[in-house]
Amino acid sequence: MATGANGAAQDRDDILQVNGVSKRFGGLQALGDVNLTVARSSIHAIIGPNGAGKSTLLNVMIGLIEADEGEVVFDGTPLRGVSPHNIIQRGIARVFQTPQIFPGMTLLENVAIAGFSKRDGQFTVNPHQSLKRSEVMDEASAILRRVGLGGKVAEDAGHLSRGDKRRLELGVCLAAHPKLLLLDEPTAGMARHDTNKTIDLLKEIADTGVTKVVIEHDMHVVFSLAERITVLAQGRIIADGKPDEVRGDPKVREAYLGGEH
């Protein structure tokens, strides 16, 4: 059990530490010296105007984009140089802004793939497999029921509505049993009724101890979910704290009023 390669012991129980991460795209400073810690089993929201670097930050966390400087430490081990599928295997899952699913496969297959990932992800032949195929399939249908798609297991994923695709992607992520779930606007494009259902679902998942980092534009969602909020603007953190602290922060108001809307 190595605790923090840089020697920094985890004072609180943080599942994720982002230490001084910077990223440039050509002339654009997408992220500038971002420092962030996410407490285990919490719901942590990242908000900010469009182009603030929120998605880039999530992409750095799962290795989709490599940071120019700084490092991401997950559960005590730095993630630099770890290939994406290994990062996922360690317990991070990601819901993308545009739902990423397997459109030509059934909902059941979509979720089952994630169910098999722990066993088959590395393509190793293990004669002592404890995981049975029927167990994976049963769990996959249970997860589909949980995300509200129980009646559509045999349908092709590509035919779903956008909102349902989001739900399916969430199901795919849950089937991998993540410790940390990264959600990029999980309620975008949903009607208020569906949004509320998703909020309930996310809260319910949080009760099972899964940590969540959520990017969200909808302040209704943010303030009804998050235990901690980080505000990004132009690639830098301008506020970080409990919802009430952030709500009253004049810098945050300025960023939102001066920027978008």
Partner: protein, 365 residues
């Protein structure tokens, strides 16, 4: 609410995956499909002559059937269009020829050697070509196969016989049993049946589902914790071995190695057979192989050199009007006669999935 849900999960992942490509509903059932397939293949020497063919044509169809079956694992399941599969077919053929000429006339020795050769070729070509997708992958495989072809005719000419091909091979035998006529046919047919059984198993296993997921959305697969690279390589190597087995059988059937076995036109023929028959259906490409070989041998004897023109027209017609190949035609007839059918997608890649490394605009953000 979820009453319809659980009947499908009962059969494991096999049920949703299995009924994708079958012609008829009964073909969902693996053993039924396998038994029917085996009967049709093994009885070929009985019914091919009725259609105007000869015994040797049956052997050729079976050998090419193995070749296209493996090709379908790569193209149909995984979505990678190789234009260089002649490298494995021809490579294995040359190794087999070399064994028969210079080492041993025992088919088992030649078989093992040819498969070792195929494995080495597949790993080397795969390691380089599999880094790219789409047209770049196709071109890389084509380039490798052409390099091999050129090498066989130039620097390796003393070994391969250059443009003359490899001649004066010993008569291959299995501890004295000659590989002629029906003997080689039944050996090849057994290998095709085994290859088909393996492909069915593969398709209905989690492994097969991973391969299909690579075709659907490789980025999502990687970000679901799957080592996509290993799965891709496995598919490529398995596919190459089918081609390698076919190459070995070809030379065992007719102890002579033609330079054409390595030529790009051989790779092209496999593509044509697969598309005509129905990519991703396993049986389809084998039907396609039968059709093309029938044209090459029987129809040619009737209409002469025109056969290429006719075959070309058939190909154009299929691509334009029957993107699912002959298998789709069978499905249409089935449907037209009043039977119900599940919808099946064509194997045309989804335009939304235009790729960078793992796909989609996410990466560019």
């Amino acid at each position: 609410m979820s009453t319809t849900s659980d009947d499908r999960s009962a059969g494991g992942i096999a049920a949703p995956a299995g009924d994708r490509g079958g012609i008829l509903e009964v073909f969902k059932r693996e053993p039924v499909a396998l038994a029917a397939f085996t009967i049709v293949i093994f009885s070929m020497p009985l019914w091919i002559p009725v259609l105007g063919g000869y015994e040797g044509l049956a052997t050729l169809i079976v050998i090419w059937g193995i070749f296209v079956l493996g090709f379908d694992i790569l193209l149909g399941f995984t979505g990678y269009l190789s234009f260089g599969h002649a490298a494995f077919f021809g490579g294995a053929a040359y190794v087999t020829g070399f064994m028969y000429r210079d080492v041993s006339d025992n088919v088992i020795v030649a078989f093992v050697a040819s498969q070792v050769g195929t494995l080495i070729l597949a790993v080397v070509i795969g390691l380089l070509a599999m880094r790219r997708t789409g047209i770049y992958f196709s071109i890389l495989t084509l380039a490798f196969a052409e390099m091999l072809f050129a090498a066989a005719l130039s620097i390796f000419a003393p070994l391969t016989g250059g443009y003359d091909g490899m001649t004066r091979l010993q008569e291959p035998n299995l501890f004295g049993v000659k590989m002629d006529g029906l003997t080689i046919f039944y050996i090849a047919a057994a290998m095709l049946a085994i290859g088909y059984a393996m492909a069915l198993r593969l398709r209905n296993s989690p492994f097969g589902v991973m391969l299909r997921a690579i075709k659907e959305n490789p980025m999502r697969l990687e970000y679901t914790g799957i080592n996509v690279w290993r799965y891709k390589m496995a598919a490529f190597i398995i596919s190459a071995h089918y081609a390698g087995v076919a190459g070995f059988l070809m030379v065992t059937y007719e102890p002579y190695v033609a330079t054409k076995f390595l030529h790009w036109s051989t790779s092209g023929e496999v593509v044509i057979m697969s598309v005509i028959g129905g990519v991703g259906t396993l049986v389809g490409p084998i039907i396609g192989a039968g059709f093309v070989l029938y044209f090459q041998n029987v129809v040619q004897a009737v209409i002469g050199e025109q056969w290429r023109l006719i075959l070309g027209l058939v190909f154009v017609f299929v691509v334009a009007f029957l993107p699912g190949g002959f298998v789709d035609l069978a499905r249409m007839v089935w449907k037209a006669t009043g039977n119900r059918l599940r919808a099946r997608r064509h194997n045309v890649p989804d335009m939304e999935l235009t790729e960078t490394k793992y796909g989609t605009e996410e990466r560019l953000r």
